[in-house]
Amino acid sequence: MIAVAALVVAPLFAGGLSLVVHRSALLHAINLMSMGTLVAAEITITRTVLRDGPFTALDQLVYLDALSSFILFIIGAVGLACSFYMCSYMDEQVARGVIAPTRLNLFFFLFHMFLLAMVVATIANSVGMQWVAIEATTLATTFLIAFWRRRESLEAGWKYLILCSVGISLALFGVVLTYYSSLHVLGDVSQALNVTQLLPVADRLNPHVLKLSFIFILVGYGTKVGLVPMHSWLPDAYTEAPAPVVAMLAGVLEVVAVYAILRMRTIVDHAVPSDFTGGLLALLGFASFMTAALFILIQHNYKRLFAYSSIEHMGIAMIGFGVGGPLGTFGGLFHLLNHAFAKSMAFFAAGNIHRRYHTMEIGHVQGLAAAQPWTAMALMISGLALSALPPFASFASEVHVVTALASQGVPGMPFTSTGGMVSFALSDQFGRIALTAVFLISAVLAFGGLMYRMTGMVWGTPPEGVLREETWTLGHLPVILLAGALVVFGFFLPPPIQQLLEQTTMLLVIQ
């Protein structure tokens, strides 16, 4: 239970300290210590969950099972990588005068609050508290996105604040509807929004209300994930935010929002056949995947390129969850993990490139291999992993998803129930083949777009005035570790992670 308390106390304490400390070395030390505590606490919790199953703590406020432990694992891993990267990145930004030294405190404070909000969203037992925490992530990150205070960053920050707040308000309506249905069964208890209370009675909740509630929640949190058509804030925010912030947004925040959707699904699926939620998830997944694959082709800004690639990969994960079954769900979860690792690495590389070339235009970046060999390597590796090529783990997870899609097809229930026009059977043989073909074509498009741009950046001769050496910093450590993990996970999952993924899959697949 100390571990659970540590999860919340560490970022809170570190955030408070960040406001009063002025030396940047101390700020980094506090940050690393808090992240270290977080990771240690997560390991303890995961071990407990794997050994004894789900448990509640702190007077029913906290609920931890395999799913939340898995999300905590991603938060910890990417967060720690980010903290190491920030050691070199932030100091350099201050030294160059991009960020005033006095604003470093604010940066770290907001960073810790962001972490805190995500941790609370993951461990909260009450669906309502989870909503409050996810809205808090929006509030904590909007100034981080606008941290450079240029016109473009203000625009991106404002768009993010408004679109996400509105989207999330819709999710609140979904939460209200869930409460509405649970009050009928549970009576007027203050804990009627707790997952531990909802799960046992889930099959007696009113299916109409839950369907409506799930749609609101999917649209609401889907905005935060950046699913098409609610994605328009995402490329702007990812372009303008400083590299460590984007790495957290792309690697962790998206995953937390997906978690909120999945958590709701575990409840709704008891009352409504899982084809309903699955069909909706797959629909949004395909929309995101296909749109993003097309937009990847026309990007000329490398951060925007990675942003669209994020939308694409979230789409793939959603298709995995939507198709469902053990194979699809496992693939989706595994893909979330791989994407978090590969994308944070890609944005670390993007941050290094931006600091050296002072441009985000792909056309102006050439000869990266000569100018920054380590970064060039990181960029290539993340690019290959994001294109889901072997030997990287993302290849394995994408194969899981596409196999599930080809063998099961997409559940068509939400379409058949709304009207006859589009109700051609999406799970019959023709539908399966067609959907698989669409999936593969999109994947090839995304691969081509990514690789074409990346090779253009890596090879060639650097422009005049660009320094041609790369000194080793602490910021290189996380990149190497992430790359290593991506390769190793492709061949062999460490037993605890394997177990965690399997238990989570079992939680999400409802027979």
Binding site: S126, G128, M129, W131, V132, A133, E135, A136, T138, L139, T142, F143, A146, R149, R150, R151, E152, L154, E155, A156, G157, W158, K159, L161, I162, S165, V166, S169, L170, L172, F173, V175, V176, L177, Y179, Y180, S181, L183, H184, D188, S190, Q191, A192, L193, N206, H208, V209, L212, P235, D236, T239, E240, F295, I298
Partner: protein, 221 residues
């Protein structure tokens, strides 16, 4: 008892309807400061509705929610918005994507849509407040529409706050309020969101010399 709960239900419906009416007034209003006043008025109706439901059902924690709504949404947030408007020195809202009559018609359509969507789930509700859920959904949709139709940062903010009012009405009407801890959290989020948006409008004004979000077009494909 039956008579009391019937007339109580009528009263709650009346208050919810007044909230909806102020929504229409906001859509029809062109002056920024009047929009803010109307929002304060709407929040005041929300306070009355919440207190009424609290009285009729005996749920003590709803009184706390009503008091918080009064302090935050009737007093603090309108003041913050007025300050922002004073500093921006814009009085008239001239930019509208949709003209007023068309906007009102669309809102009428949205109300019908809301009643249509919530038809299957209304019979489940508690007798006292069951029609209010549809009204709440209508307010949410109109708030949504206001945000799309109006281009000024401040009016977008008002649209967002109207949307939040709709959500609170929904929570109060359908379920006699959310658990207290959740409600407190939501209040906190709304307050901080408004303050942050206020800071943004100042910065946008400095950077763009305008709070017309149509000007925000640096970032696009």
């Amino acid at each position: 008892m039956q008579v009391l709960s019937y007339s109580g239900s009528q009263l709650v419906d009346l208050c919810s309807a007044l909230l909806l009416l102020t929504c229409f007034a906001i859509v029809a209003q062109r002056r920024l400061s009047a929009c803010v006043d109307l929002f304060a008025l709407q929040s005041a109706f929300l306070v009355v509705t919440t207190a009424l439901v609290a009285y009729l059902t005996g749920n003590q924690h709803l009184y706390i929610a009503a008091a918080l709504t009064g302090v935050i949404k009737v007093i603090i947030i309108p003041r913050v918005l007025k300050k922002v408007i004073d500093r921006l020195n814009v009085k008239r809202e001239l930019v509208m994507c949709v003209n007023v009559p068309a906007g009102l018609l669309i809102c009428g359509g949205l109300v019908m849509l809301a009643f249509f969507i919530s038809q299957p789930i209304i019979p489940l509700g508690f007798l006292l407040t069951r029609d209010s859920l549809a009204i709440a959904l209508a307010i949410v949709l109109i708030g949504f529409f206001t945000m799309i139709a109006r281009q000024k940062a401040v009016t977008q903010l008002v649209g967002f706050l109207v949307l939040e009012n709709g959500l609170f009405l929904g929570a109060t009407a359908a379920t006699y309020g959310m658990p207290l801890i959740v409600e407190l959290g939501v209040f906190f989020d709304v307050l901080i969101a408004t303050l942050i948006a206020g800071i943004y409008t100042n910065r946008l004004q400095d950077a763009f010399d305008s709070v017309d979000t149509n000007q925000l077009t640096v970032l696009k494909e």
